[in-house]
Symmetry: D2
Subunit: 138 residues, 4 copies
Amino acid sequence: MAVDIKVRGYHLDIYQHVNNARYLEFLEEARWEFVEQHNLLELFASQNLAFIVVNINISYLRPALAGETLRVLSAIDTLGNKSGAVKQKVVLLKDGKEADTIAEAKVTFCLVDLKTQQTVPISGNVRASLENMIEEEL
Amino acid sequence: MAVDIKVRGYHLDIYQHVNNARYLEFLEEARWEFVEQHNLLELFASQNLAFIVVNINISYLRPALAGETLRVLSAIDTLGNKSGAVKQKVVLLKDGKEADTIAEAKVTFCLVDLKTQQTVPISGNVRASLENMIEEEL
Amino acid sequence: MAVDIKVRGYHLDIYQHVNNARYLEFLEEARWEFVEQHNLLELFASQNLAFIVVNINISYLRPALAGETLRVLSAIDTLGNKSGAVKQKVVLLKDGKEADTIAEAKVTFCLVDLKTQQTVPISGNVRASLENMIEEEL
Amino acid sequence: MAVDIKVRGYHLDIYQHVNNARYLEFLEEARWEFVEQHNLLELFASQNLAFIVVNINISYLRPALAGETLRVLSAIDTLGNKSGAVKQKVVLLKDGKEADTIAEAKVTFCLVDLKTQQTVPISGNVRASLENMIEEEL
Protein backbone atom coordinates (compact mmCIF):
# COMPACT_ATOMS: atom_id res chain seq x y z
CA MET A 1 0.00 0.00 0.00
CA ALA A 2 1.43 3.37 -1.05
CA VAL A 3 0.92 6.91 0.24
CA ASP A 4 2.72 9.80 -1.45
CA ILE A 5 3.83 12.84 0.54
CA LYS A 6 5.45 15.95 -0.84
CA VAL A 7 8.16 17.44 1.37
CA ARG A 8 7.22 20.98 2.41
CA GLY A 9 9.09 23.78 4.15
CA TYR A 10 7.49 23.02 7.52
CA HIS A 11 8.72 19.40 7.45
CA LEU A 12 12.36 20.50 7.59
CA ASP A 13 14.57 21.33 10.54
CA ILE A 14 17.85 23.10 11.23
CA TYR A 15 19.72 20.82 8.80
CA GLN A 16 17.23 21.54 5.97
CA HIS A 17 16.23 17.86 5.96
CA VAL A 18 12.94 16.32 7.03
CA ASN A 19 13.15 16.09 10.82
CA ASN A 20 13.35 12.59 12.29
CA ALA A 21 10.19 13.00 14.40
CA ARG A 22 8.26 14.07 11.30
CA TYR A 23 8.97 10.69 9.65
CA LEU A 24 6.97 9.05 12.44
CA GLU A 25 3.98 11.16 11.38
CA PHE A 26 4.54 10.13 7.76
CA LEU A 27 4.60 6.48 8.88
CA GLU A 28 1.47 6.95 11.02
CA GLU A 29 -0.33 8.65 8.12
CA ALA A 30 0.49 5.65 5.93
CA ARG A 31 -0.64 3.17 8.59
CA TRP A 32 -4.04 4.89 8.97
CA GLU A 33 -4.47 4.74 5.20
CA PHE A 34 -3.31 1.11 5.21
CA VAL A 35 -5.76 -0.10 7.87
CA GLU A 36 -8.55 2.01 6.37
CA GLN A 37 -8.11 0.53 2.91
CA HIS A 38 -8.48 -2.91 4.47
CA ASN A 39 -11.61 -1.85 6.39
CA LEU A 40 -9.88 -2.49 9.69
CA LEU A 41 -11.03 0.75 11.33
CA GLU A 42 -14.65 -0.43 11.40
CA LEU A 43 -13.55 -3.86 12.60
CA PHE A 44 -11.45 -2.33 15.38
CA ALA A 45 -14.32 0.00 16.36
CA SER A 46 -16.90 -2.80 16.42
CA GLN A 47 -14.68 -4.86 18.73
CA ASN A 48 -13.53 -1.86 20.76
CA LEU A 49 -9.90 -2.46 19.86
CA ALA A 50 -7.03 -0.04 19.53
CA PHE A 51 -3.86 -0.56 17.50
CA ILE A 52 -1.08 0.32 19.96
CA VAL A 53 2.54 0.82 18.90
CA VAL A 54 5.01 -0.80 21.31
CA ASN A 55 8.26 -0.38 19.39
CA ILE A 56 9.54 1.53 16.39
CA ASN A 57 12.91 0.75 14.85
CA ILE A 58 13.62 3.28 12.12
CA SER A 59 16.75 3.73 10.02
CA TYR A 60 17.37 7.03 8.29
CA LEU A 61 19.35 6.20 5.15
CA ARG A 62 19.37 9.44 3.16
CA PRO A 63 18.01 12.90 3.99
CA ALA A 64 14.83 14.13 2.25
CA LEU A 65 14.75 17.70 0.92
CA ALA A 66 12.09 20.33 0.22
CA GLY A 67 10.14 19.66 -2.95
CA GLU A 68 10.92 15.94 -3.10
CA THR A 69 8.04 13.49 -3.24
CA LEU A 70 8.24 10.52 -0.91
CA ARG A 71 6.28 7.29 -1.16
CA VAL A 72 5.53 5.41 2.04
CA LEU A 73 5.03 1.67 1.49
CA SER A 74 3.45 -0.44 4.23
CA ALA A 75 2.90 -4.16 4.69
CA ILE A 76 2.32 -6.51 7.58
CA ASP A 77 5.64 -8.21 8.25
CA THR A 78 4.95 -10.75 11.01
CA LEU A 79 1.95 -11.76 13.09
CA GLY A 80 2.46 -13.41 16.45
CA ASN A 81 -0.15 -14.41 18.97
CA LYS A 82 -0.28 -11.11 20.87
CA SER A 83 1.80 -8.78 18.71
CA GLY A 84 2.65 -8.14 15.11
CA ALA A 85 4.91 -5.92 13.04
CA VAL A 86 4.36 -3.55 10.14
CA LYS A 87 7.24 -3.02 7.72
CA GLN A 88 7.35 0.49 6.28
CA LYS A 89 9.64 1.97 3.69
CA VAL A 90 9.97 5.60 2.64
CA VAL A 91 11.29 5.86 -0.90
CA LEU A 92 12.11 8.85 -3.05
CA LEU A 93 10.07 9.21 -6.23
CA LYS A 94 12.09 10.25 -9.29
CA ASP A 95 10.00 10.95 -12.39
CA GLY A 96 7.19 9.08 -10.69
CA LYS A 97 9.31 5.95 -10.13
CA GLU A 98 10.49 4.53 -6.81
CA ALA A 99 14.18 5.35 -6.45
CA ASP A 100 16.47 5.61 -3.37
CA THR A 101 15.24 4.38 -0.01
CA ILE A 102 15.08 7.31 2.39
CA ALA A 103 14.09 5.44 5.56
CA GLU A 104 12.86 2.05 6.62
CA ALA A 105 11.07 1.05 9.77
CA LYS A 106 9.65 -1.89 11.61
CA VAL A 107 6.69 -0.94 13.80
CA THR A 108 5.69 -3.52 16.41
CA PHE A 109 2.11 -3.33 17.65
CA CYS A 110 -0.39 -4.93 20.00
CA LEU A 111 -4.14 -4.82 20.03
CA VAL A 112 -5.63 -3.37 23.21
CA ASP A 113 -9.19 -3.77 24.41
CA LEU A 114 -10.25 -0.18 25.11
CA LYS A 115 -12.54 -1.22 27.98
CA THR A 116 -10.05 -3.28 29.96
CA GLN A 117 -6.94 -1.47 28.59
CA GLN A 118 -5.36 -4.94 28.30
CA THR A 119 -3.67 -6.44 25.26
CA VAL A 120 -5.69 -9.19 23.60
CA PRO A 121 -4.68 -12.02 21.25
CA ILE A 122 -4.79 -11.22 17.53
CA SER A 123 -7.52 -13.59 16.43
CA GLY A 124 -10.73 -14.09 14.45
CA ASN A 125 -11.60 -11.80 11.56
CA VAL A 126 -9.08 -9.15 12.70
CA ARG A 127 -6.31 -11.74 12.32
CA ALA A 128 -7.69 -12.86 8.95
CA SER A 129 -7.65 -9.24 7.72
CA LEU A 130 -4.11 -8.66 8.96
CA GLU A 131 -2.94 -11.87 7.28
CA ASN A 132 -4.24 -10.50 4.00
CA MET A 133 -2.03 -7.46 4.54
CA ILE A 134 1.20 -9.47 4.62
CA GLU A 135 3.46 -8.75 1.68
CA GLU A 136 6.62 -10.79 1.45
CA GLU A 137 8.56 -8.66 -1.01
CA LEU A 138 8.55 -5.30 0.80
CA MET B 1 3.06 34.75 33.88
CA ALA B 2 6.27 33.75 32.09
CA VAL B 3 7.39 30.51 30.44
CA ASP B 4 10.86 30.29 28.90
CA ILE B 5 11.51 28.14 25.84
CA LYS B 6 14.86 27.55 24.20
CA VAL B 7 14.74 27.39 20.40
CA ARG B 8 15.95 23.98 19.19
CA GLY B 9 16.82 22.55 15.79
CA TYR B 10 13.46 20.81 15.44
CA HIS B 11 11.53 24.09 15.93
CA LEU B 12 12.95 25.55 12.71
CA ASP B 13 11.75 25.21 9.13
CA ILE B 14 13.10 25.79 5.63
CA TYR B 15 13.89 29.44 6.43
CA GLN B 16 15.90 28.48 9.55
CA HIS B 17 13.40 30.38 11.69
CA VAL B 18 10.88 28.99 14.17
CA ASN B 19 7.95 27.82 12.03
CA ASN B 20 4.72 29.78 12.43
CA ALA B 21 2.67 26.73 13.50
CA ARG B 22 5.21 25.98 16.22
CA TYR B 23 4.51 29.34 17.87
CA LEU B 24 0.95 28.17 18.49
CA GLU B 25 2.37 25.27 20.49
CA PHE B 26 4.58 27.71 22.42
CA LEU B 27 1.48 29.81 23.17
CA GLU B 28 -0.53 26.73 24.16
CA GLU B 29 2.30 25.55 26.43
CA ALA B 30 2.24 28.95 28.15
CA ARG B 31 -1.55 28.92 28.50
CA TRP B 32 -1.54 25.49 30.18
CA GLU B 33 1.10 26.76 32.61
CA PHE B 34 -0.90 29.96 33.12
CA VAL B 35 -4.20 28.25 33.96
CA GLU B 36 -2.39 25.64 36.05
CA GLN B 37 -0.64 28.24 38.17
CA HIS B 38 -4.02 29.78 38.91
CA ASN B 39 -5.51 26.37 39.81
CA LEU B 40 -7.97 26.63 36.97
CA LEU B 41 -7.46 23.07 35.71
CA GLU B 42 -9.06 21.61 38.84
CA LEU B 43 -11.85 24.18 38.66
CA PHE B 44 -12.50 23.38 34.99
CA ALA B 45 -12.45 19.64 35.73
CA SER B 46 -14.80 19.93 38.70
CA GLN B 47 -17.31 21.83 36.55
CA ASN B 48 -16.71 19.71 33.47
CA LEU B 49 -15.59 22.72 31.46
CA ALA B 50 -13.19 22.99 28.57
CA PHE B 51 -11.29 26.08 27.50
CA ILE B 52 -11.94 26.27 23.75
CA VAL B 53 -10.03 28.60 21.43
CA VAL B 54 -12.28 30.31 18.88
CA ASN B 55 -9.85 32.78 17.31
CA ILE B 56 -6.11 33.42 17.26
CA ASN B 57 -4.68 36.63 15.87
CA ILE B 58 -0.90 36.39 15.85
CA SER B 59 1.66 38.81 14.48
CA TYR B 60 5.17 37.61 13.71
CA LEU B 61 7.45 40.58 14.24
CA ARG B 62 10.96 39.16 14.07
CA PRO B 63 12.19 35.62 13.33
CA ALA B 64 13.53 33.47 16.17
CA LEU B 65 16.73 31.49 15.61
CA ALA B 66 18.28 28.30 16.98
CA GLY B 67 19.81 28.74 20.41
CA GLU B 68 17.77 31.83 21.32
CA THR B 69 15.70 31.77 24.49
CA LEU B 70 12.16 33.02 24.20
CA ARG B 71 9.89 34.13 27.03
CA VAL B 72 6.14 33.73 26.57
CA LEU B 73 4.12 36.18 28.66
CA SER B 74 0.39 35.61 29.18
CA ALA B 75 -2.40 37.62 30.74
CA ILE B 76 -6.16 37.77 30.50
CA ASP B 77 -6.98 40.75 28.31
CA THR B 78 -10.76 40.99 28.28
CA LEU B 79 -13.65 39.03 29.79
CA GLY B 80 -17.07 39.17 28.22
CA ASN B 81 -20.18 37.27 29.18
CA LYS B 82 -19.58 34.23 26.99
CA SER B 83 -16.04 34.77 25.73
CA GLY B 84 -12.73 36.22 26.78
CA ALA B 85 -9.29 36.91 25.38
CA VAL B 86 -5.77 36.05 26.46
CA LYS B 87 -2.98 38.39 25.42
CA GLN B 88 0.32 36.59 24.79
CA LYS B 89 3.69 38.02 23.92
CA VAL B 90 6.82 36.13 22.84
CA VAL B 91 9.94 38.13 23.69
CA LEU B 92 13.60 37.39 23.09
CA LEU B 93 15.74 37.10 26.21
CA LYS B 94 19.14 38.79 25.96
CA ASP B 95 21.42 38.18 28.94
CA GLY B 96 18.33 37.08 30.84
CA LYS B 97 16.46 40.32 30.13
CA GLU B 98 13.36 40.77 28.00
CA ALA B 99 14.42 42.38 24.72
CA ASP B 100 12.80 42.43 21.24
CA THR B 101 9.23 41.26 20.79
CA ILE B 102 9.23 38.23 18.50
CA ALA B 103 5.48 37.69 18.24
CA GLU B 104 2.28 38.85 19.87
CA ALA B 105 -1.10 37.21 19.90
CA LYS B 106 -4.64 37.63 21.07
CA VAL B 107 -6.36 34.32 21.74
CA THR B 108 -10.14 34.46 22.06
CA PHE B 109 -11.76 31.63 23.99
CA CYS B 110 -15.09 30.28 25.19
CA LEU B 111 -15.90 27.86 27.95
CA VAL B 112 -17.69 24.74 26.79
CA ASP B 113 -19.65 22.31 28.95
CA LEU B 114 -18.16 18.95 28.01
CA LYS B 115 -21.48 17.13 28.56
CA THR B 116 -23.67 19.34 26.40
CA GLN B 117 -20.84 20.56 24.13
CA GLN B 118 -22.42 24.02 24.43
CA THR B 119 -20.70 27.26 25.37
CA VAL B 120 -21.63 28.52 28.82
CA PRO B 121 -21.41 31.98 30.42
CA ILE B 122 -18.14 32.78 32.21
CA SER B 123 -19.43 33.11 35.75
CA GLY B 124 -19.00 32.23 39.41
CA ASN B 125 -15.60 31.22 40.78
CA VAL B 126 -14.23 30.55 37.28
CA ARG B 127 -14.92 34.19 36.38
CA ALA B 128 -13.41 35.36 39.66
CA SER B 129 -10.22 33.40 38.94
CA LEU B 130 -9.99 34.71 35.39
CA GLU B 131 -10.47 38.28 36.64
CA ASN B 132 -7.43 37.77 38.86
CA MET B 133 -5.44 36.88 35.79
CA ILE B 134 -6.03 40.24 34.08
CA GLU B 135 -2.87 42.26 33.70
CA GLU B 136 -3.24 45.71 32.22
CA GLU B 137 0.35 46.38 31.28
CA LEU B 138 1.09 43.38 29.05
CA MET C 1 -7.26 26.02 -5.19
CA ALA C 2 -8.25 23.00 -3.10
CA VAL C 3 -6.22 20.55 -1.00
CA ASP C 4 -8.00 17.68 0.77
CA ILE C 5 -6.72 16.38 4.10
CA LYS C 6 -8.11 13.43 6.02
CA VAL C 7 -8.14 13.89 9.79
CA ARG C 8 -5.99 11.23 11.46
CA GLY C 9 -5.46 10.16 15.06
CA TYR C 10 -2.22 12.12 15.39
CA HIS C 11 -3.93 15.39 14.41
CA LEU C 12 -6.13 15.35 17.52
CA ASP C 13 -5.44 16.60 21.02
CA ILE C 14 -6.86 16.18 24.51
CA TYR C 15 -10.32 17.31 23.35
CA GLN C 16 -10.36 14.75 20.49
CA HIS C 17 -10.50 17.61 17.98
CA VAL C 18 -7.84 18.71 15.53
CA ASN C 19 -5.44 20.82 17.59
CA ASN C 20 -5.34 24.53 16.76
CA ALA C 21 -1.62 24.54 15.94
CA ARG C 22 -2.16 21.68 13.47
CA TYR C 23 -4.51 23.85 11.41
CA LEU C 24 -1.59 26.17 10.71
CA GLU C 25 0.23 23.22 9.15
CA PHE C 26 -2.87 22.40 7.09
CA LEU C 27 -2.96 26.02 5.91
CA GLU C 28 0.77 26.00 5.16
CA GLU C 29 0.42 22.73 3.22
CA ALA C 30 -2.31 24.34 1.13
CA ARG C 31 -0.26 27.50 0.53
CA TRP C 32 2.74 25.49 -0.74
CA GLU C 33 0.43 23.65 -3.12
CA PHE C 34 -1.18 26.94 -4.12
CA VAL C 35 2.08 28.74 -4.97
CA GLU C 36 3.45 25.61 -6.64
CA GLN C 37 0.45 25.23 -8.94
CA HIS C 38 1.01 28.80 -10.06
CA ASN C 39 4.73 28.19 -10.64
CA LEU C 40 5.64 30.74 -8.02
CA LEU C 41 8.29 28.60 -6.33
CA GLU C 42 10.58 28.82 -9.36
CA LEU C 43 9.86 32.53 -9.67
CA PHE C 44 10.66 33.11 -5.98
CA ALA C 45 13.84 31.01 -6.27
CA SER C 46 15.04 32.81 -9.41
CA GLN C 47 14.63 36.19 -7.68
CA ASN C 48 15.90 34.92 -4.32
CA LEU C 49 12.63 35.79 -2.60
CA ALA C 50 10.93 34.23 0.39
CA PHE C 51 7.24 34.35 1.21
CA ILE C 52 7.19 35.45 4.87
CA VAL C 53 4.06 35.33 7.02
CA VAL C 54 3.65 38.42 9.20
CA ASN C 55 0.16 37.83 10.63
CA ILE C 56 -2.36 35.00 10.85
CA ASN C 57 -5.92 35.64 11.94
CA ILE C 58 -7.72 32.33 12.23
CA SER C 59 -11.23 31.59 13.48
CA TYR C 60 -12.12 28.09 14.61
CA LEU C 61 -15.82 27.66 13.88
CA ARG C 62 -16.49 23.97 14.44
CA PRO C 63 -14.20 21.17 15.67
CA ALA C 64 -12.91 18.58 13.18
CA LEU C 65 -12.97 14.92 14.19
CA ALA C 66 -11.01 11.77 13.30
CA GLY C 67 -11.98 10.31 9.94
CA GLU C 68 -13.45 13.54 8.56
CA THR C 69 -12.10 14.89 5.30
CA LEU C 70 -11.29 18.57 5.20
CA ARG C 71 -10.81 20.72 2.13
CA VAL C 72 -8.53 23.73 2.37
CA LEU C 73 -9.38 26.47 -0.11
CA SER C 74 -6.90 29.27 -0.79
CA ALA C 75 -7.02 32.50 -2.75
CA ILE C 76 -5.17 35.77 -2.79
CA ASP C 77 -7.39 38.28 -1.01
CA THR C 78 -5.59 41.61 -1.26
CA LEU C 79 -2.32 42.84 -2.71
CA GLY C 80 -0.71 46.00 -1.39
CA ASN C 81 2.60 47.52 -2.34
CA LYS C 82 4.71 45.68 0.22
CA SER C 83 2.30 43.12 1.65
CA GLY C 84 -0.62 40.96 0.65
CA ALA C 85 -3.11 38.58 2.19
CA VAL C 86 -4.18 35.02 1.45
CA LYS C 87 -7.71 34.00 2.39
CA GLN C 88 -7.98 30.36 3.43
CA LYS C 89 -11.03 28.35 4.35
CA VAL C 90 -11.16 24.85 5.83
CA VAL C 91 -14.45 23.17 4.97
CA LEU C 92 -15.81 19.76 5.87
CA LEU C 93 -16.50 17.43 2.96
CA LYS C 94 -19.75 15.47 3.23
CA ASP C 95 -20.24 12.88 0.49
CA GLY C 96 -17.58 14.70 -1.46
CA LYS C 97 -19.35 18.05 -1.25
CA GLU C 98 -18.22 21.16 0.60
CA ALA C 99 -20.35 21.48 3.74
CA ASP C 100 -19.76 23.28 7.07
CA THR C 101 -16.90 25.74 7.42
CA ILE C 102 -14.48 24.43 10.04
CA ALA C 103 -12.07 27.34 10.13
CA GLU C 104 -11.23 30.44 8.17
CA ALA C 105 -8.06 32.45 8.12
CA LYS C 106 -6.46 35.52 6.68
CA VAL C 107 -2.71 35.17 6.28
CA THR C 108 -0.79 38.40 5.71
CA PHE C 109 2.58 38.08 4.02
CA CYS C 110 5.56 40.02 2.77
CA LEU C 111 8.21 39.13 0.25
CA VAL C 112 11.73 39.15 1.65
CA ASP C 113 14.95 39.30 -0.35
CA LEU C 114 16.96 36.40 1.07
CA LYS C 115 20.28 38.20 0.51
CA THR C 116 19.44 41.45 2.26
CA GLN C 117 16.77 39.97 4.56
CA GLN C 118 14.70 43.07 3.76
CA THR C 119 11.11 43.18 2.54
CA VAL C 120 10.75 44.23 -1.06
CA PRO C 121 7.82 45.66 -3.03
CA ILE C 122 5.51 43.11 -4.69
CA SER C 123 6.14 43.94 -8.32
CA GLY C 124 6.89 42.68 -11.82
CA ASN C 125 6.04 39.13 -12.83
CA VAL C 126 5.65 38.03 -9.19
CA ARG C 127 2.87 40.60 -8.77
CA ALA C 128 1.30 39.56 -12.06
CA SER C 129 1.22 35.93 -10.90
CA LEU C 130 -0.24 36.84 -7.52
CA GLU C 131 -2.91 38.95 -9.22
CA ASN C 132 -3.96 35.87 -11.16
CA MET C 133 -4.45 34.07 -7.87
CA ILE C 134 -7.08 36.52 -6.60
CA GLU C 135 -10.51 34.96 -6.28
CA GLU C 136 -13.31 37.25 -5.23
CA GLU C 137 -15.85 34.68 -4.15
CA LEU C 138 -13.85 32.74 -1.54
CA MET D 1 21.49 14.37 32.25
CA ALA D 2 17.83 15.05 33.00
CA VAL D 3 15.19 17.19 31.27
CA ASP D 4 11.68 17.38 32.73
CA ILE D 5 8.66 17.80 30.48
CA LYS D 6 5.07 18.22 31.59
CA VAL D 7 2.53 16.45 29.40
CA ARG D 8 0.10 18.98 27.89
CA GLY D 9 -3.15 18.67 25.95
CA TYR D 10 -1.43 19.22 22.59
CA HIS D 11 0.96 16.30 23.18
CA LEU D 12 -1.89 13.78 23.15
CA ASP D 13 -3.59 12.02 20.26
CA ILE D 14 -6.78 10.10 19.58
CA TYR D 15 -6.00 7.61 22.39
CA GLN D 16 -5.46 10.42 24.93
CA HIS D 17 -1.83 9.34 25.31
CA VAL D 18 1.30 11.18 24.23
CA ASN D 19 1.61 10.44 20.50
CA ASN D 20 4.56 8.28 19.48
CA ALA D 21 6.03 10.90 17.12
CA ARG D 22 5.98 13.44 19.95
CA TYR D 23 8.34 11.28 22.01
CA LEU D 24 10.96 11.78 19.32
CA GLU D 25 10.70 15.54 19.93
CA PHE D 26 11.04 14.94 23.68
CA LEU D 27 14.16 12.86 22.99
CA GLU D 28 15.55 15.48 20.62
CA GLU D 29 14.90 18.23 23.17
CA ALA D 30 16.85 16.23 25.75
CA ARG D 31 19.72 15.56 23.33
CA TRP D 32 20.10 19.29 22.54
CA GLU D 33 20.23 20.02 26.26
CA PHE D 34 22.66 17.13 26.75
CA VAL D 35 25.17 18.26 24.09
CA GLU D 36 24.77 21.87 25.16
CA GLN D 37 25.59 21.13 28.78
CA HIS D 38 28.78 19.47 27.62
CA ASN D 39 29.67 22.43 25.39
CA LEU D 40 29.50 20.25 22.31
CA LEU D 41 27.49 22.74 20.23
CA GLU D 42 30.43 25.15 20.08
CA LEU D 43 32.82 22.29 19.36
CA PHE D 44 30.58 21.00 16.56
CA ALA D 45 30.21 24.52 15.12
CA SER D 46 33.96 25.22 15.24
CA GLN D 47 34.66 22.00 13.33
CA ASN D 48 31.66 22.37 11.03
CA LEU D 49 30.17 19.09 12.22
CA ALA D 50 26.55 17.98 12.47
CA PHE D 51 25.18 15.27 14.73
CA ILE D 52 23.10 13.12 12.37
CA VAL D 53 20.70 10.44 13.61
CA VAL D 54 20.90 7.24 11.55
CA ASN D 55 18.68 4.94 13.62
CA ILE D 56 16.19 5.21 16.46
CA ASN D 57 14.96 2.14 18.28
CA ILE D 58 12.27 3.19 20.74
CA SER D 59 10.08 1.03 22.97
CA TYR D 60 6.85 2.45 24.36
CA LEU D 61 6.29 0.70 27.68
CA ARG D 62 3.42 2.60 29.28
CA PRO D 63 1.29 5.47 27.97
CA ALA D 64 1.81 8.99 29.34
CA LEU D 65 -1.23 11.09 30.24
CA ALA D 66 -2.07 14.80 30.45
CA GLY D 67 -0.68 16.45 33.54
CA GLU D 68 2.03 13.86 34.18
CA THR D 69 5.62 15.02 34.42
CA LEU D 70 8.18 13.04 32.45
CA ARG D 71 11.93 13.01 32.95
CA VAL D 72 14.13 12.30 29.96
CA LEU D 73 17.51 10.82 30.91
CA SER D 74 20.31 10.71 28.35
CA ALA D 75 23.77 9.18 28.27
CA ILE D 76 26.27 8.10 25.66
CA ASP D 77 25.99 4.33 25.41
CA THR D 78 28.65 3.27 22.92
CA LEU D 79 31.24 5.02 20.80
CA GLY D 80 32.57 3.34 17.67
CA ASN D 81 34.98 4.72 15.13
CA LYS D 82 32.39 6.33 12.85
CA SER D 83 29.19 6.05 14.86
CA GLY D 84 27.93 6.09 18.41
CA ALA D 85 24.73 5.58 20.35
CA VAL D 86 22.83 7.64 22.91
CA LYS D 87 20.70 5.77 25.42
CA GLN D 88 17.58 7.70 26.46
CA LYS D 89 14.95 6.83 29.00
CA VAL D 90 11.63 8.58 29.63
CA VAL D 91 10.49 8.01 33.20
CA LEU D 92 7.37 9.15 35.02
CA LEU D 93 7.97 11.43 38.00
CA LYS D 94 5.80 10.62 41.03
CA ASP D 95 6.14 13.13 43.88
CA GLY D 96 9.33 14.29 42.24
CA LYS D 97 10.87 10.81 42.19
CA GLU D 98 11.66 8.69 39.15
CA ALA D 99 9.02 5.95 38.92
CA ASP D 100 7.79 3.81 35.99
CA THR D 101 9.69 3.80 32.73
CA ILE D 102 7.47 5.20 30.00
CA ALA D 103 9.76 4.69 27.02
CA GLU D 104 13.35 3.82 26.28
CA ALA D 105 15.36 4.44 23.17
CA LYS D 106 18.71 3.89 21.59
CA VAL D 107 19.63 6.62 19.13
CA THR D 108 22.51 5.81 16.77
CA PHE D 109 24.33 8.77 15.29
CA CYS D 110 27.18 9.77 12.99
CA LEU D 111 29.09 12.98 12.71
CA VAL D 112 28.87 14.62 9.31
CA ASP D 113 31.18 17.29 7.92
CA LEU D 114 28.76 19.99 6.75
CA LYS D 115 31.06 21.03 3.88
CA THR D 116 31.58 17.63 2.32
CA GLN D 117 28.32 16.11 3.64
CA GLN D 118 30.38 12.98 4.44
CA THR D 119 30.55 11.14 7.75
CA VAL D 120 33.83 11.58 9.59
CA PRO D 121 35.54 9.51 12.31
CA ILE D 122 34.67 10.46 15.90
CA SER D 123 38.06 11.63 17.09
CA GLY D 124 40.06 14.30 18.90
CA ASN D 125 38.40 16.58 21.43
CA VAL D 126 34.91 15.71 20.18
CA ARG D 127 35.57 12.06 21.02
CA ALA D 128 37.01 13.04 24.40
CA SER D 129 33.88 15.04 25.21
CA LEU D 130 31.57 12.22 24.12
CA GLU D 131 33.55 9.76 26.25
CA ASN D 132 32.87 11.96 29.25
CA MET D 133 29.17 11.63 28.51
CA ILE D 134 29.15 7.84 28.87
CA GLU D 135 27.15 6.66 31.84
CA GLU D 136 27.17 2.95 32.51
CA GLU D 137 24.18 2.71 34.81
CA LEU D 138 21.46 4.28 32.64
